[in-house]
Symmetry: C2
Amino acid sequence: MNLRIPGPIPVPDDILQILSRQMINHRGPEFKELLYRVTERLKTVFATENDMFILSSSGTGGMEAAISNTLSVGDKVICASIGSFGNRFGEIAKRFGANVEMVNFEPGTSINIEVLEQALNDHKNVKAVLVTHNETNTGVTNNLKQVAKIVKKDPSRLLLVDGISSVCSIPLQTDEWECDVVVSASQKGWMLPPGLAFISFSPLAWKFNSVSDMPRFYFDLIQYKSYYEKGQPPWTPALSIIFALDKALEQIIDEGMENVYSRHSSIANQVRNGIKAIGLSLFPDISVASNTVTAVKSPDGLDADILRKQVQQDHDVVLAGGYGPQQGKIFRIGHLGYVKPKEIDETIDAINLTLKNV
Amino acid sequence: MNLRIPGPIPVPDDILQILSRQMINHRGPEFKELLYRVTERLKTVFATENDMFILSSSGTGGMEAAISNTLSVGDKVICASIGSFGNRFGEIAKRFGANVEMVNFEPGTSINIEVLEQALNDHKNVKAVLVTHNETNTGVTNNLKQVAKIVKKDPSRLLLVDGISSVCSIPLQTDEWECDVVVSASQKGWMLPPGLAFISFSPLAWKFNSVSDMPRFYFDLIQYKSYYEKGQPPWTPALSIIFALDKALEQIIDEGMENVYSRHSSIANQVRNGIKAIGLSLFPDISVASNTVTAVKSPDGLDADILRKQVQQDHDVVLAGGYGPQQGKIFRIGHLGYVKPKEIDETIDAINLTLKNV
């Protein structure tokens, strides 16, 4: 199977093998050493000296942790959304009682900086801004550096970033760009199975935390912080995936972040050129197209979900569909983690051959 | 290493191997089939026809889900606690805004039914009762059948059960005993690594859910229920552990629940007899001693944590310590999941030899 969805991604064989390691005591010295090692390496990938925690959950759990650990009921926040995952971030904040102002942009486009700046000027007392770095849903990457600059014109404003499908694939400089909270998840560029979320937490985030009144327990980062000092997680962690994380991080740090990013950029170019070569068009403008997932318009009159089904049936290539308003209109090709150029060639060929027959 | 803590447990080799399976599309037909199969089998083990959901979290996440999906802010609830995990259940309910009445029992004892009944009579409008079936912290199993009978004298009262270290090891008849919500976790009797929680949810629990106002998103069971109808999880699940769950459930159902329970009972007897034979005493009375974890008093004047450290250093046998008031006074031997009698013999021998030398 050629699994070409934007997570779960195919996990390299040597990392898969580590998953079969036998359990250890999560409150013993061996785990302590492992926890400290992977946490330090995660900080390297996130480019941060902020606190870093490993949660046993999907990325959505990490998004909830970002919100419930910082905001208070009634806090005015702006959620800049360019798709379903942006909407989800805003929805979580609403559920927990924040006063959320959605600033939505047309699907397929990125955040318009002027519009965001205007919104920040129009609304008084905006405590925090929620942003998706890479919108998996539409295949668009926001210019997070620019967004952060606008948000941080007032340095007391908190910036919460969903970096789930960007960190470890697309450059994200947590500290340099002043991102207070950044969330990622294991089944993305990290080359791991799903089951872990990673969250970085700045001093300003802790300041918000000290007055935050949203309820939390499983995702309570105060517990994570106090147990971390003992080299332990507060709750029993998904050990197998942490063993695999150790291996993956070793490879990622060895390769070097610049090489990891250019590997993703080069594979993304191959996908985009291939799509163009078979006569199809990208859903977003190429200037904002993501390096981890490519959203492609289905040819006029052809339901993208029918095309996907046929591609899988005939060629064992698994593509992702569109969500919400894009369902049936676009399909998506995932290309994060370790992808071989040959797998992309096979994907493009499979789509091309299927198009000739449907 | 002879890992004798009450979870994570040593995972049998054939199940460990499954963890190395390659990823699949969690929104595709193969996962749908897998999800439906494991969910039905989980219901068999829980002895329930209630809804059943698989969460990607530890058991603590499942406890939070039990509370935040049923209760409302200000609801009067009674938490019957016999140790740290009972206290945790009450603490989660408090964090989310319930009006929690703690009914605490002496560590090492089980719930006194008369005292619980009195508390239920004394407090008007008790909406729900929180109970730990098996208190891992003190090695005590409550008589859940009796507790449930008292709680359900008023059938409108909700019974939330932490069955994390009991389900699949110690008999728990969810439907027969009218347990509305029961939570378990993968790293216990299920013979799996940590990373998944299982939760059963009764019609009365759904009735509570329809008016519940506690905030939730990651653990929102309405989302789980609506996606389940499509054969999908709402968020990306910890796939590797679900693959392994499929294998473990096949073995458990093949073995038969009665055999699974008597295997645990027989191993527990072996542990208790072994402890007695080397001159040590159980922490709880034998009549309430758990079949999944045995809490043992450290000999007078000997710090249990020093003993544990020495046992690990000299014999590579890993024991668990006491929590809170029991720290240093007791040690605990985990014996859930698939345990070979030889492993217990080695454990007892290791403790005995160490005692002679310290």
